[in-house]
Amino acid sequence: MSAAPDPAAPPGAAGVPPAAAGWRGVAAEPEPDEPRGRAFLLLDRSGRSRRLLGALLRPHRAAIALLVVLIVVSAAAGLAIPYLVKVGIDAGIPPLVAGHAPATLLAAVGGVLGAALLQGLTRQAFLRLSGRVGQDILLELRRRVFTHFQRLSPAFHERYTSGRVIARLTSDVEAISEMLGSGFDRVVTAVLTLAGTAAMLLVLDARLALVALLPLPVLVLLTLWYRRESAAAYRRTRETVALLIVHFVESMTGIRAVQAFRREERNQEIFERLNADYRDANRRSMHLSALYMPGTKLIGNVTVALVLLYGGWLALHGSVTVGVLAAFLLYLRQFYEPMQDLSQFYTSVQSAGAALEKLAGVLAERPAVAGPARAAALPSGRGPGGGVGREGVEFRSGDGPPVLHRIDLAIPAGQTVALVGPTGAGKTTLAKLIARFYDPVAGRVLLDGVDLRDLDEATLRRTVVMVTQENFLFSGTVADNIRFGRPDATMAEVVAAARAIGAHEFIAGLPDGYHTRVGKRGGRMSAGQRQLVAFARVFLADPAVLILDEATSSLDVPSERLVQRAMATVLAGRTALIIAHRLSTVEIAQRVLVVEDGRIVEDGPPDRLIAAAGRFAALRRAWLDSIA
């Protein structure tokens, strides 16, 4: 049941699975990353990522200005050195030969040392500052994207897959970090040199300068071509690496099933194909820059030759002096050399741009379950009572038929309600609406009279906690995992919680007790033990409304009893919603709701429903038969 196998009609009327289907199957919804139809991530190519870049750079405006100053000083000091050497030789040596004191020479040597020192200092300052700015930007980007992912709804995550989340936050962020670390200084020097030399060329000889600048439009065209092609190529790189990561993470997470079913060969085949796709995407972008970079070089070299010919011809006819021509050639070389640095930098900008685009796409996702514009408070005075009301709630996933049909239901504060019914009836969906994992399509869900959509997240989560059959353990110790329910709990409280639900014995028996590390996702613990830890967690969280969705399915009967007994105490005075197939779990309920096909078909205290001999009575009989 839950979000349900999306029963949406196949997208598009065609009704034929696209050819790409193969092993991956056909997604019931468009892939988040594939620009298919009105795919949402790549809609806007530049605006969104440019805005993100602007927002990231803005706080560092002052530092960036300082960086430019440092580069200029450093470059000036660097340029001064050959000049000072020339002075030392031209002006310093004659006095020596004449037998005078080496004052000029010493001054020149001192100048070289001073310039070297200045260059060194500014260079070091530049490297440190640019490193810091770059890392600060990365940190900020990581924080933003991480927080945003956490804010997005479970429905988003189901579609997006964890592998893609990981790809965004590792591989894409690294692509950006590569750009930040790649020669910003050389770009600034290149730009300055270009501007300076262009001016010098014009001053030296306007006719020659025009010839020299003639190929610039070609360069612009080449760059435009490169930009278009490489943007597509790098985008493809980001997409293929994401798929690679998704597959990698999935097979490592599911390694047990992989090995048990000898999936290795097939997996390897798939991985190698994805890896080859990634290689091809990389090859395309590398080939593009293998064309672009020598292309700029070629334009520069051809220009030099043209100027040589034209300038030589002019000089032969006495229109320019030999000195001007010689100087012109020197400057021209300086004009086209930095182009290499620029095109190199441009390549990394393109690569980072594709990554930035992906991240900007994530940040542009609106949380489907958004926080309120203005948070309402729960009626105060007695703290959250936990009364739950629902008025005409309807829920459907995608465009499919409703999973739940107009449900009107009121659960008074403190009542323990059991939800029973066949698989796929909509029980979990109903529960998830109360925990606001989803929002209803129509109608509203109220907590103590307040619409859930008007509550801020902190209040909602403090009040309503849902425990499901999947009990995720985070890396860290057992105690850390229990404390997840209430991060500020003391060790004594953690132990008390574990004792209360009967998990203390097994935890105490672990090698380091509560300080035993659970390993990757609790790999060394059994499913039942993980459920016990999850229960201790919820015991500690102590919410006003508690939802248990098949939370004891992996426990043996005595453990389940123990948990139930603890729950009976915990649930006193608390609103609770219990979903269980094993009706033993239901026995602490004061009220039973039978859900079928998205409707509540029976509602009442258990003994009355049994007496009425309806659906619940039948379910219960089947259960009693099964345990007999």
């Binding site: 029963p7 070289v112 090995q259 390897q268 990634y278 970079m293 070629l298 030759a305 010689a326 426990l555």
Partner: protein
């Protein structure tokens, strides 16, 4: 010893370049020729100015001009040739290494995967490999080119004026000393950066996989705090690396300039005393100036090399881990499915108490045994010993009289199929997920398996069996996922079918239907069924009670119920509770 091993890691990757030797040779030729042409072009310019232009020789202008044009085009072409040719070997190395890493990871046993977070593995398969690629793509080439360039210039200098030449050569000493010291520290810090990046990836992974638990408890801030701390730690470590390399790069750049000042001073004095001509000094200083760029880029390349070596270390760390579970030589041609645990025991590495010890249990061909025990008694571990997802640490497990360790893994794992309690479904089509254990299954077999598992709902999915089911089947309910996992195990047509509490998330009616169908399946295969409920136990011919890490009782359900109080406590719902009363 360790340092020898470490420094050779990068070298050990050389075999990945072997298929590309011809391309590599071409790259080196193109690179060298490119540099040579680059040197010649300015000489031609000079020739034009000094020759035809100065002497008014119009006839020589055109050929020389065309020569410059041709050389310019040749230089661009050589750069193109180098860059284009290097794409294949460089990407080939990266791709092949990644394929091998993945293959190896799939062979490493559960015990390895328990310990290694996938974030750490992923950062090796992506970040580290691209560092290695970058080194082989650019670093190595430029390292050698720079060294050649430096060697040539220094040889020229020595030839021009050996005392000053020696002085220049002498400044190599502080550079080498600095490099060695830098190398040691840089390597440590870059290793730390790479490890911390892996940790960060792990946190990201957990935050995505555990998103619903995080949401359920509203622990966004808590999880964010952990991530932020790790991100800031990484930030700090990278800043240490930045400061270290900033200092090193700067020193490496300053040294040639200081040398230049010394050359100027001593050279001028030598000119003063007549030991040197001004022309030579000019040529000498010009050459020393040319040393600046190769020396300073050497710093950058050395850093890149360090990172590549660290990355190679990290990758080889995984590749060098021997798969602790490898197959034996025997292939079972006609498996009967006679399973015996003979004094089998299991202890997690580093754990004090064994999970299982002295387990003796026999399951005859066609027989089904139910394993019953309290939460955490080792039932799942026991079942994992048969297909060698875990290996016994004492005693042995046999199938048809062969120690499972003597069978090839392929043979063993086609004899045994397990339906896990927590079913792992992959982001693939339903069909692909089902056919994991039997790629040659026909449509009819598929339907049969789905019917047994009561999982025909998949035919109603938008694209039927071709529908992709989300990551871990996220868009399916727990019960639906379990039924698919069951269908998968049934479809594998194993001789030994292990059901690890596979029905826990099913509702009573569905469970009854599944059980009825399973009875059929289990009638002719050997079954090991982990059970929490009496209804599941009834699938079995006999029951083994697991207690205190070993099998304490084997017998029929009714027998144990009557005879063993512990068993009664575990299974009998009515032992201490009367359902009628509870619901009253």
């Amino acid at each position: 010893m360790r340092s020898v091993v470490e420094s050779s890691s990068l070298w050990r990757l050389k075999s990945y370049l072997r298929p590309h030797l011809r391309a590599l040779a071409l790259i080196w030729v193109a690179a060298t020729a490119g540099i040579a042409v680059g040197i010649v072009i300015p000489l031609v310019s000079r020739e034009i100015i000094d020759g035809p232009v100065r002497h008014g020789d119009a006839g020589a202008l055109l050929p020389l001009g065309l020569l410059a044009l041709g050389l310019g085009a040749a230089e661009a072409f050589l750069i193109f040739l180098r860059r284009w040719t290097q794409v294949r070997p460089v990407l080939g190395l990266e791709t092949a290494l990644r394929d091998d890493l993945y293959r190896h990871l799939q062979r490493l046993p559960m015990s390895f995967h328990d310990e290694w977070q996938s974030g750490q593995l992923l950062s090796r398969a992506t970040t580290d490999l691209s560092v290695i690629r970058r080194f082989f793509g650019f670093g190595l080439l430029f390292l050698v080119m720079n060294v050649i360039q430096l060697g040539t210039v220094i040889a020229l200098l020595l030839h021009m004026h050996w005392p000053l030449g020696l002085l220049v050569l002498g400044t190599a000493v502080p550079i080498i000393v600095l490099s060695v010291r830098f190398e040691r520290r840089y390597r440590k810090v870059s290793r730390q950066v790479q490890d911390e990046q892996g940790d960060l990836a792990t946190l990201v992974e957990e935050s995505a996989l555990g998103i619903r638990t995080i949401k359920a408890f509203g622990r966004r801030q808590h999880v964010y705090a952990g991530y932020d701390e790790a991100a800031r730690r990484l930030h700090g470590t990278i800043m240490r690396k930045v400061r270290l390399s900033a200092r090193f790069f700067t020193l490496v750049e300053v040294i040639p300039n200081v040398t230049l000042a010394l050359v100027l001073l001593l050279g001028a004095l030598a000119v003063g005393s007549g030991g040197l001509t001004v022309g030579t000094l000019v040529a000498f200083t010009t050459l020393v100036l040319q040393l600046g760029w190769p020396v300073s880029s050497l710093g950058y390349i050395l850093a890149l090399g360090q990172e590549a070596m660290t990355a190679a270390d990290r990758v080889l760390e995984v590749l060098d881990t021997r798969p602790a579970i490898t197959g034996g030589p025997i292939v079972l041609e006609r498996p009967r499915g006679h399973v015996r645990f003979e004094g089998a025991g299991f202890r997690f590495p580093g754990a004090g108490r064994p999970v299982l010890h002295d387990v003796w249990l026999e399951v005859r061909p066609g027989e089904t045994v139910a394993v019953v025990g309290a939460t955490g008694s080792g039932k799942t571990t026991l079942t994992a010993l048969v297909p060698r997802l875990r290996d016994v640490t004492a005693g042995r497990v046999t199938i048809d009289g062969h120690d499972v360790r003597d069978l090839t893994l392929a043979s063993l794992r086609s004899v045994v199929a397990t339906a896990f309690e927590e079913p792992t479904l992959f982001s693939m089509s339903v069909r692909e997920n089902l056919m994991l254990g039997n790629p040659r299954a026909t449509e009819r077999e598929l339907r049969e398996a789905l019917e047994i598992a009561q999982a025909t709902f998949v035919y109603d999915l938008p694209w039927g069996l071709d529908t992709r089911i989300g990551e871990q089947g996220m868009s399916l309910s727990g019960g639906q996922r379990q039924r698919l996992a069951l269908a998968r195990a049934v479809l594998a047509r194993p001789r030994v079918l292990v059901l690890d509490d596979t029905l826990s998330a099913l509702d009573v009616e569905t469970e009854a239907l599944v059980e009825a169908a399973l009875k059929e399946v289990l009638s002719d295969v050997t079954g090991i069924v982990v059970a929490h409920r009496a209804s599941t136990v009834l699938l079995a011919d006999k029951v083994a009670l697991l207690s205190g890490g070993t099998v304490t009782h084997v017998g029929r359900h009714q027998e144990l119920l009557a005879r063993v109080p512990e068993y009664r406590a575990l299974l009998a719902q009515d032992a201490d509770l009367d359902p009628e009363g509870a619901l009253r």
